[in-house]
């Protein structure tokens, strides 16, 4: 076993959907852009990279066909790094990291790029279908509901009020705003430029510091309509102690639909030494779990516990947590399940403020976590996401 070390992490700023700056930028350009940034920043001999693992959740059309390999070539890298695209729904970006770490830790490969890309504005979420949702028999058998209904079910069962979830959302924006203002994201964020070198977007464009519980409280629930269609019945039939689902999630307290890409360079100590790379952290442990699929989004806590157990660590050993803010209730449930204080979690905001470019998010929050551990000079961090289909994923890193 060799250790899997993180040498660097980059990401694009997140562009705000169809009206955002990155709608004009195709996915392969976003992906190639982060690869190029990674090699330039590190004066990387790209021929030394064994593989590029990229998460994409809607891998079709211009975002399909193994975009990882395509991006390697499009970035002008040496032809030797291979490329593979993977999909573990919202965990894809972190799964890339974990898979790259496993490749390195096993000794089968020495230097691997993990990353992810998603242009949600150009390739809409769900446009790849999938048996879970669109095959009727499977849908019936698995009691499929959209994630928003699951998030509302969590809020109902846990007793999170509309105010509770809006308060977390307001906090996400406030924290992200402070972080951006103070330059906390600058270490990782690389501008997106066009073919002429003109900057298209240089920082996240989704943060609304003016958001308050009052202003967020005016938004209409996003999933009442879906619930009324019949999804509430499906959810209640699975959770029959619930009389009715409290539809608390809105566009304001759910993750934003954005475009973006990220990449992390992971390798062995030997590979780093030979290329002159300085390790920033090591991957301590990783975990994935399967959980009940209808409530779907309760995976973070069990996956975090599994990763902690694997590493022989306890919750108190973790200095900072990044929990993907797919929906407010997911984070609130994680806080409750793990019994951790709010000031250790998403200290620079999360996807409610910054957006959730599905295939890339996991990789992005890992970079954010590492940057903040360094900035605060802390030791260990844990990143986790809830995942479609009822899964959870977690990764623990430690600065070296």
């Amino acid at each position: 076993m060799s250790e899997a070390l993180i040498f660097d992490a980059v990401r694009t700023p997140r562009g705000k959907g169809k009206r955002g700056s990155l709608h004009s930028v195709k996915p392969v350009a976003l992906a190639a852009g982060v690869l190029r940034a990674l090699s330039e920043r590190n004066s990387l001999d790209t021929s030394a990279v064994d593989d590029v693992v990229f998460g994409v959740v809607s891998p079709l059309g211009e975002q399909g066909g193994d975009i990882a390999r395509t991006a390697v070539l499009a970035a002008g890298w040496d032809q030797r790094p291979a490329g593979v695209q993977l999909n573990r729904f919202c965990a894809s970006g972190l799964e890339s990291v974990n898979l790259a770490a496993a490749k390195v830790a096993s000794g089968f490969e020495d230097l691997v790029v993990a990353g992810g890309v998603e242009s949600m504005s150009r390739v809409p979420m769900g446009s790849d279908g999938g048996a879970w949702a669109i095959d009727p028999q499977t849908n019936f058998d698995l009691s499929f509901v959209p994630q928003g209904v699951s998030a509302d079910l969590i809020a109902t069962l846990e007793g999170f009020s509309r105010t509770d979830v809006d308060a977390w959302a307001a906090r996400s924006h406030a924290r992200a705003f402070e972080a951006q203002k103070n330059g906390f994201f600058e270490r990782s964020v690389v501008p997106v430029v066009d073919q002429n070198g003109t900057v298209v977007l240089k920082e996240d464009e989704t943060i609304r510091p003016e958001s308050t519980v009052e202003s967020l409280g005016k938004l209409k629930p996003s999933f009442q309509f879906h619930g009324d269609l019949g999804y509430d019945t499906v959810a209640i039939d699975r959770y029959p102690t619930v009389e009715r689902i409290n539809h608390v999630h809105t566009p304001g307290n759910s993750s934003q639909i954005v475009d973006g890409a990220a990449a992390v360079l992971i390798g062995s100590e030997a590979a780093g030494r030979s290329l002159g790379l300085t390790p920033r952290a090591r991957i301590v442990s990783v975990a994935v779990v399967g959980t009940e699929p209808t409530i779907m989004l309760t995976g973070p806590a069990p996956s975090a516990r599994k990763a902690l157990d694997k590493a022989g660590l306890s919750v108190e050993d973790i200095d900072l947590f990044e929990v993907n803010e797919a929906f407010s209730s997911v984070v609130l449930k994680f806080l409750r399940d793990m019994d951790i204080p709010e000031d250790k979690v998403n200290v620079n905001g999360g996807a409610i403020a910054l957006g959730h470019p599905l295939g890339a998010t996991g990789c992005m929050i890992l970079g954010t976590l590492l940057d903040e551990l360094e900035r605060r000079d802390l030791r260990r961090g844990l990143a986790t996401l809830c995942v479609g289909g009822g899964m959870g994923i977690a990764t623990i890193i430690e600065r070296v």
Binding site: S127, I134, P136, Q137, N139, P146, G230, P240, T241, E243
Partner: protein, 676 residues
Amino acid sequence: MPFHYDKDADGIVTLTMDMSGSANVMNLEYRELMNEAVSRLEGDEITGVIITSAKKTFFAGGDLNVLIAITPENASEALDGVEEIKSQLRRLEKLGKPVVAAINGSALGGGFEIALSSHRRIVLNDNGIRLGLPEATLGLLPGGGGVTRMVRLLGVQKALPLLMEGKQLRPERALQAGIVHQLVDTREELLSEAREWIKANPAPVQPWDVPGAGVPDLKFGDPNSYGVLAAAPAVLSKKTHGVYPAPEKIMAAAVEGAYVDFDTALKIEGRYFVELAAGQVSKNMITAFWFNLNEVNGRASSSGRRVTKLGVLGAGMMGAGIAEVSAKAGIEVVLKDVTLEAAQKGAGGLEGITPTDSDDDLAGCDLIIEAVFENRELKNKVLAAAEAQALPDAVIASNTSTLPITGLATAVPDAERFIGLHFFSPVPKMRLVEIIRGEKTSEETLQRALDYVRQIGKTPIVVNDSRGFYTSRTFATYVIEAITMLSEGVAPALIENVAKKAGMAVGPLAVSDEVTLSLQLKIHDQTLADDPSLVSDSPAYDLIREMVSLGRTGKAGGAGFYEYPSDGSKKFLWPELTTRYVKADAGVSEQDVRDRLLFVQALETVRCLDEGVLTSVADANIGSIFGFGFAPWSGGTLQFINSYGVQAFVERADYLADTYGERFRPPASLREREKF
């Protein structure tokens, strides 16, 4: 008896289906006849084919005796059978010659699938004719190409509602729905129009056999379809709660088949068909909605009399409903109440109903139905007065749902002519009538009551007199069991949701509010006063008493187990139920809640059978489904036991008795039974 094969001078063959039974059905004989006919058509020099029937109906559908015998063990044989049926129909529509279905009577199920395999469907425009694919109502799907052809004919979105609900359409509606091409007014035109069409269309091709044809509204890989596809199961689940496999499999077969060629789609359809046919729910539904229903509807009639003038006493909701359905059946109705205004209000200005406040207007009635308040003295009084005016041999009936008929019969001089006719609310919608034989009710009176029920187009079950008869008595156990669970600390939402998941029409606490808690208490106290041995000492009554004392008397009173917001928004469970009664450690699993709600009714039904209140399994099953909404997927209270397996049911009931009380102890008769 054959399929008559008549070729005329123009080379047009008229294939007249005339099978050996009373109707044409899809069985082994059909397969042989159809094979012979198609083979002969293939070898013959012909211009076209007209398919019609020598029977009253065009074709009745699948042979349910055959279908109910399909099991997982013989499933592959069954699959071979349907594959053969489909391949014959495929050969027919690909003859290269025009095939016209001249539909001279109802064409349902397999019959309509034959029609769908014809290039042209011409129907006699007779309001008695029904067309469509009702398989889903028996827990099946149209496995003779019905799903595949309908989906390609109409598109998934239009075909699925017809298929999943098993709609039977009149000719006009079938034309509007686009499942037939043409209506004609006479049998002669049926054939002449068929000939004309054959001459004008010498080589028609089915829409699904046109090159490049697929399903009109569903293409592979179209993201625009995904939202609807993902939501469609949820939309259906709102109605079915997952206990009806047939509409689910129909949707699955339709969608999976849409992405492939026609013949592959037929294979997919066939697999789902066999899965349903071999499954338990279709057995249950065929038992109840075919065999049991035919039995209760087909009881031999011997009175030879029809009601010509009916007197209804009491113009409340029940009386008015009885008057309405009777008037609509062409019976002259006199609706009497204390005041003319009340009677007029009940009559609602409907033609054929004469409102009155006078007994004199009841002169000449050959049937009297009393539907006044549940008060013995009042009933005795109005019955005696009406009887005096009616014809000397009139049948005198009470619509009571609680008072024993034998006792009420003493109100009239001749108890032999007295009977119970228990209608359900709302009368125009509920198809069941529970006929209650008193101790002295004569056979003649029973026959006349049966004939009346048939005359108004309702379904009768016949039971013997007992408190609560069969339906009210058994349904009460459902409600009381639910309230008992609440008193034990089970969450009310769990009780209501599990009841709906089990297929019950309404949650027991909701229905308890509808009936009103005060009425339940009154009936309980009345029974207690009459004969304490008839009353269980369930803690439910203490809870009901407490609710009533808190002013929560039910929906009519504005508050019961539910809150009824004055702004008209949706009712919700009274939150204080949780603080008052619910225990976090009630320890009753979801499965136990479900079984308690269903078993308690099934066991009460067995007791009714043991006591002679019920005399047939069919009465029990039909009465439970149509009378009080017992889970239709189960086939009724006794078929539920069959489908559970009697021995397994007994074991489970013993567990429930050990855990929750002796009311679940299976009667000795059940331990000895193999099935109902």
